[in-house]
Every structure is written in structure tokens, then in C-alpha cells.
Symmetry: C2
Subunit: 205 residues, 2 copies
DNA sequence: TCACATAATTAGTTAGCACTAACTAATTTG
DNA sequence: CAAATTAGTTAGTGCTAACTAATTATGTGA
């Protein structure tokens, strides 16, 4: 019944991740959180003085999971080519298994209200971009000469994020990781291919 | 002071687009809308019986602008290659000039609350995808043989959406259309390039 | 076993929200 | 110009949210 504070805090953060995935992070109430962990509403305020502190802890927990997920891939075996594909795959799998992350990225809380939250997630995105860029630069077979690794990495980041947005808009009806693998392969084939003409430039208004 | 209803309705929708861009669509209150058009709050309810009806009208207005923007490009001069680049450019410019659109796409209202809104925006995305796919299929120089136009179009949609998300996360600090032009060129060069090896497949976990 | 720290509760407060009822003033129309 | 229509107002309802004060129960170390 009565539990030590650190354990309770973890329980609460877990409940928030659950609830945010189901009903969205913006209308998430402290009452709903309290119900989920079988406490009264003011008890939550004992552990988190204000709601934004709760969001801060949630973001910290997500950041930890994400960087750990990436480290697992980067420290593993395989060349840059394999690691690149594995990194994207791992990221998509993580997003798929924790829908709360996307819900928070798209949330009002992050987009407008909570600058701290926004900074954390933007930082994570840039870390992800940095890993991709490094792998693209290392493995020369990942991208042909003349391709800027920074831009190429942004294309892959956009692939992940754009795909994730479509997954959200369709109500999470397809397999994020599955669709991602196919599109990534197409994308990498393009980046790796010997310099193709870019016929569509120039006349763009 | 007193105005005919259709004009007032348009004013109100305009105010919503303004306010949604600034403070986000979710915490947008009927009071704020009323203040913006110099009316009392209940006056808004004379024109829109409930808040969701207001959102419906806003979505309708955005859909109209968007399809008109696309038609302008598609009915204009130029081959498929030029049109493809122009379409993406036009879309990014539209998103840049009306930040409310992205705010709504990322909103709780759309993501969780309002299924009608979600359907409208998903429909728009698929229309955009359809146009891209058509242009890719028509202009053979836009994508090399063996590239599925459906998937290639999804890559470009993801480019637009992922870039837009990054633009939002960074607080709209860079030029959406400018960055988009550069990335699109890289993307199209890849799709157009003579079949490159896809070295990064296979070992993805 | 008894004091002490702390987890949790009960019972509020304050504020903001969508929405309504009843009424008033302006515009249009016969 | 009178009657009907319609755009707008004032005042208020009911609800739900975050957060607080005072108090009670629970586990822990001397």
C-alpha cells in the first residue's frame, strides 16, 4: 500500500506513459494519473510539486531509453552500413512499442507550452541525426561521393519522422518498422547510387 | 459594428487560424476567438453551434487553400519533373505562410479528439501523395526504372512532413522552403540515379 | 516502545472552460 | 413606417482542472 518515494515515482512515470499513449498527453489529468496508480490526486503532488515537473521526469525517462537503444546498436557488431539500417530499425521499433513518445512529440505541451520539453526532444533528434551522419561518413558505401552526410542524414531523419506522422494520422494501422525497412532500403539505394542526374532542379518557382 | 453572418464567419475562421498559429490549437478558447474579432464570447456560438463546428469550418478552409495551391501547379506549364519540384515547393511555402496548418496537424484535437478532422487531413495527405505518384510515374526521368512510384512518393511525403516537424521543433528558425529545395534535389537525385546497390539491407534486426 | 520522518488522505479553493437563457438593438422587408 | 428577422449583449450554469492546508496513518531507528 504505502511505498518508498523513488519506486512510487517510477510507477507514476510509467502510468503517464501509458495514459499519454491512449488518450493523448494534453488532456492528461493528475486525477487520471492518480487513478492509474491507485492513489488520491493530491498524493501525486507529493512526488511532483507541479505538473511540469512530472513532464520533465517523463522526458528524462524517454531520453534515457532512447539513448540506451541507440548505444545498443552503435556498440554492437557490424559495419557502418549494417549499423545504419539497424539504428533506423531500432528507432522505429522503439517508437512503435512506446506510442507515448510520438504523442508527446506532437503534443501541445511540447509544441507550445513547455520549452524545456521541446529542447529535450529537439536535442534527441539532433543526437539521432549525429549518429546517422557519423555512420554515413564512415561507411563510404552508404552514400556515394558528393553527397553531403549532413543533408543525407536529415533525409533519413525526415523519413523516420514523416513516416511516424503518417502512422499516427492513419491511427497506427500499419507496421511502422516494416514500412520503414522498405522505405529505408529505397532511400539508401538512392543515396548510394552512382551520381544520378537531378532533372528536377532549376525551374522550381 | 454589426456584420452579415457569412462575412463574420470568415472573420472568425481567420482569427482561429491566427490564434492557432501563435498559441496552438488545443488551448484555443472561444473567449480568445471572440476577443480577436471584437465580439463577446456567446456571439461566436450564434455562428458556430459548438466548437467542433468551428474546427470543421477551419479544416474546410484549409483543404480548399491546399487543393487550390496544388491545382495551380498541376494545371500550369512544365513537364512532370518541373511540376514535381514546384509542387513540393508550393506545399512547403504554404505550410510556411500558414503555420496554423502544422499546428493543427500536430494537435491533440486532431490526433486524439476529433476523428472528422483527422480524416480530412489524412485525406489531404493522400491527395498530395497521389499527385506526387502521378508525376513520378509520368516523368520517367524523375525516377529510375525499378522504383515503385508509390514508395517513392511516400519518401517525398515523409521529406515534407519530417522537415516540417523539425521546423516546428526548432521554433521555425530556418526557411522551410529553402531547406526543402535542397533536400528535395538530393532526394530526387537518388531516386533518379541508375540502380545503386543497397548495401545496408539484410542485417537489420 | 516510543518518537520521528514521511507517505497518503480528506476537504477544500480558485480559475477557466464550453455552453445556455433571456433580452436588446440593428437591419431588412412588406 | 411597422413587423419580422437576425446579430449581438448581459448574466449565469455546471463542470473540470491544477493545486493547497490540515490531518491521519505507516513504517523505522534509538
Amino acid at each position: 500500500m504505502r511505498k518508498p518515494a523513488p519506486q512510487r515515482k517510477r510507477e507514476i512515470v510509467g502510468a503517464v506513459l501509458d495514459l499519454a499513449a491512449k488518450g493523448g498527453p494534453d488532456r492528461l489529468t493528475m486525477q487520471a494519473v492518480a487513478d492509474a496508480v491507485d492513489l488520491t490526486q493530491p498524493a501525486i503532488f507529493r512526488h511532483f510539486p507541479a505538473k511540469k515537473d512530472l513532464w520533465g521526469e517523463v522526458a528524462r525517462s524517454i531520453a534515457e531509453d532512447m539513448t540506451q537503444c541507440w548505444q545498443g546498436v552503435l556498440c554492437g557488431a557490424g559495419g557502418p552500413e549494417e549499423k545504419l539500417a539497424a539504428l533506423v530499425s531500432a528507432q522505429l521499433s522503439l517508437l512503435e512499442s512506446r506510442p507515448a513518445i510520438l504523442a508527446i512529440v506532437f503534443s501541445h505541451e511540447l509544441q507550445f507550452e513547455n520549452a524545456h520539453l521541446r529542447r529535450i526532444f529537439h536535442g534527441l533528434m539532433m543526437q539521432f541525426h549525429g549518429h546517422l551522419q557519423g555512420l554515413l561518413a564512415d561507411g563510404r558505401s552508404c552514400a556515394r561521393a558528393g553527397v553531403d552526410p549532413v543533408d543525407a542524414a536529415f533525409l533519413i531523419v525526415a523519413l523516420v519522422q514523416g513516416l511516424a506522422l503518417r502512422w499516427s494520422l492513419t491511427g497506427r494501422t500499419f507496421s511502422l518498422a516494416g514500412e520503414g525497412r522498405r522505405l529505408l532500403e529505397l532511400q539508401l539505394a538512392g543515396l548510394n547510387a552512382p551520381a544520378g542526374r537531378s532533372t528536377c532542379e532549376g525551374t522550381a518557382r
